[in-house]
């Protein structure tokens, strides 16, 4: 064998061995001790990195859980009950009860209910429209329909329906809350999904007096107090001319839906009524 090949093999071999020794020494000297549970917890998380928990990403959230050692106020809304149970079992903690939530749009001012009075020619974004004027329908609390929520959603769960001009939430919603933050008018609310996915809520945010609110929108809450009186479970409260249904007290009896004179209380996924006489009940839409 040519001696030059032999020399190069030996030289390179020595350099390699030397470097390996240095690397080994550096690796052991500057070793970062990391809790192995962080990896385990991070693996259990959905890896959506949506920020719905309040942390920048799933790994930051896992670090926070392991660091604090408790699950108080630390909930992954995307993973829900199942993921939180798995995390709890990794850490040997008790899993908190996680209610499954969904975003609901609390405005029903569609093109039909709140016809356009103006034509907006500015940047097609709710944030700009909001600082410019009340909206094409004229309601200062209503949905502007330019889809800031749709752009904020990373789960393809909310879309503006071109026929109504209102955003609609589908089953992909993980309750991460990105749309709630994106909406300049705070129309989107996180509500519990409810038993069998059934919900009843007020689809209006208008705090103006009844006559004024009604001028702009057929289905505005006019603050008439009828639903509050009708509710036997104290689930409905009225403040600033606007009714609010507490999802935890509501028993889905639908009495309020029947008495509402402007049909601004919406029932979702409830079966059709037995009595045929209720022909004037509001049309059901799946939110």
């Amino acid at each position: 064998m040519d001696s030059s090949i032999l020399y190069s093999i030996i030289t390179l071999g020595l350099i390699g061995a030397g470097s390996a020794a240095i690397l080994y020494w550096v690796a052991s000297k500057f070793k970062v001790e990391e809790d192995p549970r962080i990896d385990a917890v991070a693996e259990a998380l959905p890896q959506a990195n949506c920020g719905g928990c309040g942390y920048a990403g799933c790994r930051n959230f896992a670090e926070a859980i392991v660091k604090t050692g408790s699950l108080d106020n630390l909930i992954c809304p995307v993973g829900g009950d199942e993921v939180m149970k798995r995390i709890a079992s990794i850490l040997g903690l008790e899993a908190p009860a996680v209610e499954s939530m969904i975003a609901v749009v609390r405005c029903n001012g569609s093109f039909q209910n709140s016809p356009s009075k103006f034509q907006y020619d500015g940047v097609k974004s709710c944030a700009f429209a909001h600082i410019t004027f009340t909206g094409e329908g004229g309601c200062p609390y209503g949905c502007l329909g330019h889809g800031d929520c749709e752009r904020a959603c990373t789960f393809d769960a909310i879309h503006v329906n071109p026929a109504t001009g209102l955003p609609e939430v589908n089953d992909k919603c993980t309750a991460c809350g990105a749309c709630v933050k994106a909406c300049p008018r705070n129309i989107i609310e996180m509500r519990p999904r409810g038993k069998k996915d059934r919900r009843i809520y007020v689809t209006c945010m208008n705090k103006e007096k009844g006559a004024v609110a009604r001028k702009n929108c057929e289905v505005a809450c006019i603050g008439c107090n009828k639903c509050v009186k009708e509710c036997r479970f104290d689930a409905i409260t009225l403040s600033n001319n606007l009714a609010y249904i507490d999802p935890h007290k509501c028993t889905l009896c639908r009495k309020c839906v029947e008495v509402c004179p402007t049909n601004c209380i919406l029932e979702v996924n409830l079966p059709p009524r037995k009595r045929a006489a209720q022909s004037d009940s509001p049309a059901e839409i799946t939110a």
Binding site: K117, D121, G122, V123, F128, I131, F133, T134, G135, P140
Partner: protein, 443 residues
């Protein structure tokens, strides 16, 4: 070579359609309503209640906060109610509704046309009276005048600048006022000089109004402290900081007020209102409003009582609602489109511009081609394309470092942009967010 400001600026078509139309007084309709928020700062607090009888010139609301102003009744009549009205953006704001019964004035107001040139009051009582009679800046920003006249401790005013630039296209209300009330404006200037304790005043007028320049120069010649200066026509020369730079070469530091360089700027309309307040005891209850635009058959200048609905003026000027696309309060560059024409004229309304449908819409937005025309046009020396982009990306720290708060929202960048990009919209939203961030940081 005429003076002008150095950085940036644009020159839109002037379109001064109503420059030759004399100021015409307009009678108020049977019912008017006076918004309670008519100046920068806190809304005023009403001192009348439902059913009260008021005379023209009586006080209706008091400005209690430091930056706030008094509001007076422009008519005699009965207070109908104090309720909300829909403002220019469609949001509800409180206003005083008055049923007009006549035109009886409060006895203390001197209604004669006679010119009073002797100034009896001393500086402090002038400022006090300006405050009592609710004078605010009539150039558009409606900053309370008495606050501007109170020079903060440690600062010294050297120079009074009277702003007769009227650089917005279409508007002619200041121009007409200078032509019709030159001696009153000169007297008003002397009153303001006395209040500030300065010996020098410059009246800045753009060169497209040679008649006003000649007339005011003639009347100012007998007062050595007052000088009339012709300026090159360039938008936004009527901006405070631009006008100071054009006339004195001084630059107001970023985030500071003009008093930092020893200047106080007042609009000619404000100067006339000050004259009326001090010499005639007349509160600010009327102003000159230009009603103009290609849609209007008779572009005119009206002397209007505060609280008169815009629709009355439009009717008088002969607008064609079926062709109209946009009604703007103010000029085409900085004005705001109205949501309905029943909103009242307020102290800050300098003009009403009606555009036809075909001129109302924005051109199609195209990608930025990096031509940097916006950078050359910005009168504040900012980089509009950059500020708009970082605001769009919600990188508000970068926007703050880029001095986004120095933007005066003149719209030159958007006007000059060949791709019709909504630069100012993004910057305006960015300014709001940066202000919010600064406020929360200071808490």
């Amino acid at each position: 070579m005429l003076k002008t400001f150095q950085k940036g600026g644009v020159h839109p078509h002037e379109n001064k359609l109503s420059a030759n139309k004399p100021i015409q007084p307009i009678d108020p309709p049977a019912k008017i309503f006076i918004p309670l928020s008519q100046s920068l700062g806190a809304p005023s607090k009403p001192v009348v209640k439902k059913g009260d009888e008021v005379k023209a010139g009586d006080i209706l609301a008091i400005g209690e906060a430091f930056i706030s102003s008094n509001i007076h009744s422009p008519v005699s009549g009965k207070i109908e109610k104090i309720d909300d009205y829909f403002d220019v953006s469609g949001y509800r704001k409180p206003a005083i509704f008055i049923e007009v019964t006549g035109r009886e004035w409060n006895e203390s107001v001197d209604l004669s046309d006679e010119l009073k040139e002797d100034i009896i009051l001393d500086g402090a009582s002038i400022i006090q009276k300006v405050k009592e009679l609710g004078i605010v800046g009539l150039g558009g920003a409606t900053f309370p005048t008495h606050v501007k006249l109170m020079v903060p401790q440690g600062k010294k005013a050297e120079l009074l600048i009277i702003n007769g630039v009227e650089c917005e296209p279409y508007l002619t209300s200041d121009h007409r006022l200078m032509l019709e009330k030159p001696r009153e404006i000169i007297t008003g200037t002397r009153i303001l000089m006395k209040a500030l304790g300065v010996t020098k005043a410059i009246i800045g007028i753009e060169n497209n109004k040679p008649d006003a320049i000649n007339l005011l120069s003639k009347h100012a010649s007998s007062y050595p402290g007052i000088e009339v200066c012709a300026l090159k026509v360039k938008y936004p020369q009527g901006g405070e900081k631009q006008l100071i730079q054009a006339l004195t070469g001084r630059e107001v530091p970023s985030g500071k007020l003009p008093i930092e360089v020893g200047c106080i700027v007042q609009n000619v309309g404000t100067t006339f209102a000050v004259y009326q307040a001090i010499q005639k005891n007349k509160p600010l209850v009327e102003r000159v409003v230009t009603v103009t635009g290609t849609n209007v058959l008779n572009p005119s200048n009206f002397l209007v009582k505060i609280g008169t609905p815009v629709s009355v003026l439009l009717g008088k000027a002969g607008w064609q609602p079926e062709k109209a696309g946009k009604v703007i309060a103010g000029g085409p560059m900085m004005g705001k489109a109205l949501l309905n024409v029943e909103v009242p004229i307020v102290k800050g309304t300098s003009g009403i511009l009606v555009l036809n449908r075909e001129e109302s819409f924005r051109p199609k937005v195209q990608p930025c081609i990096r031509c940097a025309k916006c950078v050359s046009a910005c009168p504040m020396g900012l980089e509009p394309y950059y500020l708009a982009r970082v605001s769009e990306l919600e990188k508000y720290d970068l926007a703050e470092n880029g001095a986004i708060l120095d933007c005066i929202e003149c719209g030159s960048c958007q006007y000059i942009c060949p791709s019709a990009r909504p630069l100012l919209d993004h910057i305006r939203l960015g300014k709001l967010k940066v202000n919010e961030i600064i406020r929360s940081r200071n808490q």
